[in-house]
């Protein structure tokens, strides 16, 4: 029994004691899943079964608690670098566990939790607190997002709500194949030093604030995030142990500040939503080839529900990078034998979500994103059938396409089909 599994068993025993003590009813689900990739030599065909136990209870008007615990038996076929974490064969881990404290003007949520910001769909420039699990894209958000230990405070000031979040320890995105193809420094190639995470010190914690308001039927908010970028970036590094000092490469998570805002307004069957953010990096002049440049992303969404059975959300996305010095950046990267693929100065994308529910027992959903300039694309499509109440069968696929080097083209070998059978109780 490894340490992680041992820890999981301890957590589950404590969880069970908590449930018994509180005499609260258990809920949750049992899910069988199979994800099949067929294009990659590093294929991950995931077949497994998961049971999630959830317990929640209010403690009068002043407090509540929530906990959900996953028991996961996940077989990973083929070569995989995920054996050491979530893809391990047997795992018990808390999905969310937190305590809520309420007062007339302040709500606190303390513990492992999801905090999702933003009003547009799927692409949320202001949503920067919980990392993504790109190895586990499926129909359910808690599969592809990772909860973090955080303190969240909501302060109610009349018509305004001020939300503050503190995440003491940084968790990066989980990206399939990250670090693959790296080398030990032979043949004139730079040494690879691995991945450098921010130290677990208080001053490295992430903080975020959001001020929300409703004005005449328009919900709007402004937000601020200070922390680390969740996706890694390459940089040069020097290591002197052992001697002599050598120059090499490592992956790291650069510090960023993100200033954002969003709004939404509904007109009968139509809705309009918008969201945008400016990311201020530590390379404001754009002269450091190993730091990300300042950039922005805006999303404008149109939401239309023509009938009960059909809904459509169409989104226009504009993102851009500022202060680029492409030639000097390219030179620096090439000197270190790192493939250089610059971000374009501006990129326009379109995304859409179609939801169709022809009967009480059937529904289908398609989420697609196309980058207009580079023509690379992503699609998540699935069909859901309910043979009985609380019993769901979902069949779907995740598809990436585009030229190599484009954002989705890089993930072309991540295509997969999935089948999930889920019974909730």
């Amino acid at each position: 029994m490894n340490r992680r599994l041992g820890f999981g068993v301890v957590v589950s025993v404590l969880f069970w004691q908590m449930v018994s003590f509180a005499q609260t009813p258990l809920s949750g689900y049992v899910k069988f899943y199979h994800h099949n990739r067929w294009e990659s030599s590093d294929a991950i065909s995931r077949t497994g079964t998961r049971m999630q136990l959830t317990v929640s209870q209010t403690l009068g008007d002043r407090a509540a608690f929530f906990g959900s615990l996953d028991f996961d038996v996940d077989e990973v076929r083929g070569r995989s670098r995920f054996q050491e974490d979530r893809g391990a064969n047997v795992e018990i881990y808390p999905v969310e566990m937190y305590i809520d404290l309420y007062s007339p003007w302040l709500d606190l949520r303390i513990g492992k939790q999801f905090i999702f910001w933003g009003k547009t769909e799927w692409i949320n420039p202001t949503d920067n607190i919980n990392p993504w699990d790109y190895a586990n894209i499926s129909a359910e958000i808690e599969d592809y997002r990772l909860a973090v230990n955080a303190i969240k405070a909501d302060l109610y000031l009349g018509q305004f709500t001020l939300e503050g979040v503190f995440v003491p320890v940084f968790t990066p995105d989980r990206i399939p194949g990250m670090g693959s193809g790296m080398h030990g420094g032979g043949d004139g190639m730079p040494r690879w030093f691995g991945t450098s995470l921010p130290e677990a010190k208080l001053h490295n914690g992430q903080i975020a604030f959001r001020l929300m308001h409703n004005l005449g039927g328009v919900d709007w908010s402004v937000s601020y995030y200070r922390g680390n970028q969740h996706q890694p970036q390459m940089r040069t590094a020097v290591r002197c142990i052992p001697d002599p000092c050598v120059l090499g490469l490592e992956q790291f998570y650069p510090k960023v500040q993100i200033f954002g805002g969003d709004f939404q307004k509904v007109f009968g069957r139509w809705g309009i939503r918008g969201e945008g953010a400016y990311t201020r990096t530590r390379d404001l002049s754009g002269t450091d080839p190993w730091l990300p440049n300042p950039h922005y992303q805006t999303v404008l969404a149109l939401d239309y529900t023509p009938t009960d059975d059909f809904g459509l959300v169409a989104q226009w996305v504009l993102e851009g990078w500022l202060k680029q010095h492409l030639e000097s950046d390219a030179l620096a990267w090439r000197q270190m034998h790192v493939p250089y693929s610059p971000e374009p100065r501006r990129r326009t994308s379109w995304s859409a979500r179609l939801h169709w529910e022809p009967a009480n027992y059937w529904s289908a959903q398609l989420i697609g994103v196309v980058n207009a300039d580079t023509h690379d694309r992503f699609a998540l499509a699935f069909v859901n059938y309910q043979p009985a109440d609380a019993l769901n069968i979902t069949v779907g696929g995740v598809f990436f396409g585009g030229r190599p080097g484009t954002p989705f083209g890089r993930m072309a070998d991540q295509d997969r089909l999935f089948l999930e059978l889920k019974a909730s109780f």
């Binding site: 809920s27 689900y29 929640s56 209870q57 209010t58 509540a64 929530f66 809520d100 309420y102 709500d107 939790q113 999801f114 905090i115 999702f116 009003k119 129909a139 359910e140 958000i141 808690e142 909501d154 109610y156 709500t161 409703n214 005449g216 039927g217 919900d219 939404q264 307004k265 509904v266 007109f267 009968g268 069957r269 139509w270 809705g271 939401d303 239309y304 529900t305 009938t307 009960d308 059975d309 809904g311 939801h355 529910e357 009480n360 027992y361 529904s363 959903q365 859901n384 309910q386 109440d389 609380a390 769901n392 889920k422 909730s424 109780f425």
Partner: protein, 268 residues
């Protein structure tokens, strides 16, 4: 996956439940169709209420689906209501919540809380002719009809399950009402003693019978008559929807803070 169609128009549910108010002193045999409907629509004097709603859907193959919700409602003014509903069952949508705050002068505020997304979102509204929660009740059926939307014709009195009833034919007053409701005609059987619709037939735009409503149970709670059990059958596709109110409590002094996004997103 939460169904968007569950949500729209539910603010009217309780308006539908309130089936009659105080009965006037006018001689009842002389009442016109419109006067009868005025009495049916006379609102009860409730300020707030809470209870459980059970909805059972049965299709032609006998497949049954059951939904359970807990609801809270409070009047903001004579014509504006606030309502919060939360799913209890089925288990895969448990905790899903919906908040609607009606406004006379602009679109209602409608917020949906999906536990899976841990997020509250403002949602668009569907039309009045759409199905409520995937059932055979349209939003119009469960809503409180406006008196002037229809032209009334009193037909020959009849009995329904041993009770004397007025029979009133309701025709759309305008083409827009016909289009919105998708009904060409509604015939209502209204109990004379409590001015409650106990049976109704709904006809589609071609004049063919489309749906039948039966009200097997009404209850007098807090001085107000409520239709606590309603069964709607779509006779064209042989699909039935049953709506039952349980544990209904009226004028319990619900605080305004229940009807806020803050309370909705607590999710408990």
């Amino acid at each position: 996956m939460m169904r968007s169609k569950y949500w729209f128009g539910l603010s009217f549910v309780l308006a539908a439940a309130v089936v009659a108010g105080p009965i006037g002193a006018q001689p009842q045999d002389q009442l016109t169709g419109r006067q009868i409907m005025e009495k049916v629509l006379a609102s009860g004097d409730w300020k707030d209420m809470r209870g459980d709603l059970v909805m059972i859907l049965t299709n032609a193959r006998g497949q049954v689906r059951e939904r359970r919700l807990k609801f809270y409602s409070k009047k903001r003014s004579k014509d504006e209501t606030m309502m919060l509903m939360r799913f209890i069952a089925p288990a895969d949508v448990k905790g899903t919540g919906f908040l609607v705050i009606e406004h006379k002068d602009r679109d209602d505020d409608r917020y949906l809380y999906l536990p899976a997304l841990r997020r509250v979102n403002r949602i668009t509204a569907s039309g009045r002719g759409g199905n409520f929660m995937g059932s055979d009740f349209s939003y119009y059926d469960i809503g409180r009809p406006k008196l002037d939307d229809w032209v009334y014709k009193r037909l020959q009195d009849a009995q329904w399950e041993g009770k004397d009833c007025y029979v009133v034919e309701c025709d759309p007053a305008t083409e827009q009402i016909r289009k919105d409701t998708r009904y060409s005609k509604i015939i209502r059987w209204i109990r004379k003693d409590i001015f409650t619709t106990v049976y109704a037939e709904y006809y589609d735009k071609d004049g063919d019978k489309w749906k039948e409503l039966r009200v097997p149970e009404t209850k007098h709670i807090g001085g107000i008559w409520f239709a606590t059990h309603m069964i709607m059958k779509d006779v064209q596709i042989d699909h039935t929807s049953e709506m039952r109110f349980e544990n209904l409590e009226v004028n319990v002094g619900l605080p305004d803070r229940i009807f806020t996004v803050r309370y909705l997103q607590r999710g408990l």
